[in-house]
């Protein structure tokens, strides 16, 4: 009835909702090739004009950071509050800065 080996590959879908904005991850789907993935993505993820551009990439090509190491991995940014503008004490009369 079904054949495990013949399952079409999985694709991740990224959609630009309007010109000027980033492509954003919308979800995933199965398709035989990239063109079919784009066409299916149009039908699955943009039935209500949610997009003006679609990217697809085969899921197996995505590399991700390891969630188990997330704490240590993102730790270096934690104690560097001087990277934010609000860290600096400047007089109130100073405008437009």
């Amino acid at each position: 009835m079904s054949n495990e080996n013949k399952e079409w590959p999985l694709w991740e879908v990224f959609i630009r909702s309007k010109a000027g904005l980033d492509h954003k991850h919308a979800g995933s789907l199965h398709a035989a090739d990239a063109q079919m993935a784009i066409e299916n993505a149009r039908d699955v993820y943009t039935r209500r004009m949610e997009g003006v551009s679609i990217w697809v990439v085969e899921s197996k090509h995505i590399h991700a950071s390891n969630p188990e190491e997330a704490a240590a991995f993102f730790d270096p940014a934690q104690d560097k509050i001087y990277r934010h503008p609000t860290f600096y004490n400047l007089p109130d009369e100073l405008k437009h800065m």
Partner: protein
């Protein structure tokens, strides 16, 4: 970390309303519960296309036909969002379809009832999608990220489904006496099955306690069912139809409507596969899958051919 500390930190995240994502640690039972729930949900969307597909070619006007087509297409889309969410938990699409086709996996019992008149399209949109929305809105905050995101998308699209159904009912209810009778008959037939969509009584629902603790569910079956009854009674009045249950009465003390006990023997009987349309629905799904085999093979062959051409 030890197994115990993994589980403690998992529950701590849940309690702090931090979403669980695919690569995060999760207890096996949590994963299993989600796979079962999300795949059942996906199957319900896909099988749910069938009772309405029956009426696409018989819709009374081009407008109704276009709307019904769009609704059924949405349901196909919702099934796909949900299958994708389930796949992030480590089950394949083919495995899920196999479970559906062999009867190992369940789908919502409501779709095992027949759609015998056009008014059923109204009652389904209004009551069945209405009950689904009542269930799905809290699921937008469920603890598993991919499921929650899929539900946000589904809920956004679902509200037109309910409104178009109610509009059909309204048109019939304000129509000829025969049309009004059709609407009443559809309401009477779909009322109890719609209430059963919220699942068994809390007292006998084996999964509720754990699902609440894991914040997969936010409200119990009975809470959601009551909420649905309370809002729907008012909607029945606006239609000018009779209440489908003589025991519906406002209970001042509870601040809710009382209603008849549901026929749970019927519910379990349909769940077990003996509803009016179980066999037909499953056979239609299996046939669609088998008839589509050559399309899937052809698409794969074509993709392969183009790949080799490009490489050459």
């Amino acid at each position: 970390m030890t197994q115990v500390s993994f589980e403690a930190s998992f529950q701590k995240k849940i309690d702090e309303e931090i979403m669980i994502e695919p690569q995060d640690y999760m207890p096996d039972e949590y994963r299993k519960t989600l796979i079962r729930q999300i795949s059942q949900h996906a199957h319900s969307e896909i099988v749910g296309m069938l009772p309405e597909a029956n009426w696409i070619t018989r819709a009374p006007s081009l407008r109704r036909k276009a709307v019904l087509l769009a609704k059924v297409q949405d349901e196909g889309g919702h099934g796909l969002y949900l299958y994708s969410a389930a796949e992030t938990l480590g089950i394949t699409r083919d495995q899920m379809l196999q479970q559906l086709h062999t009867g190992a996996a369940k789908y919502s019992s409501i779709f095992n009832y027949p759609t015998i008149t056009w008014a059923d399209m109204g009652a389904i949109g209004w009551l069945v999608d209405g009950a689904a929305i009542m269930n799905q809105v809290p699921l937008c905050r469920t603890s598993y990220g991919p499921y929650a995101r899929a539900m946000v998308r589904v809920c956004k699209e679902e509200s037109f489904h309910q409104r178009q159904g109610y509009e059909i009912m309204l048109t019939l209810a304000k129509g000829t006496p025969v049309q009004k009778q059709m609407a009443q008959d559809a309401l009477n037939r779909w009322w109890a099955p719609a209430l059963m969509m919220f699942g068994p009584l809390d007292a006998v629902s084996p999964n509720t306690a754990k699902s609440m603790e894991w914040r997969i569910k936010r409200f119990t079956n009975d809470e959601l069912r009551q909420r649905f009854i309370d809002v729907t009674v008012e909607q029945i009045r606006i239609l000018g139809l009779d209440l489908p249950d003589a025991n519906i009465k406002w209970n001042e003390e509870r601040g809710h409507y009382d209603s008849s006990e549901l026929n749970w023997d019927e519910f379990w009987n349909v769940v077990k596969g003996n509803g009016p349309c179980n066999k037909e629905r499953l056979a239609t799904r299996v046939k669609a899958w088998e008839d589509g085999a050559w399309v899937r093979e052809a698409a794969s062959a074509y993709a392969e051919k183009r790949k080799t051409k490009k490489a050459a």
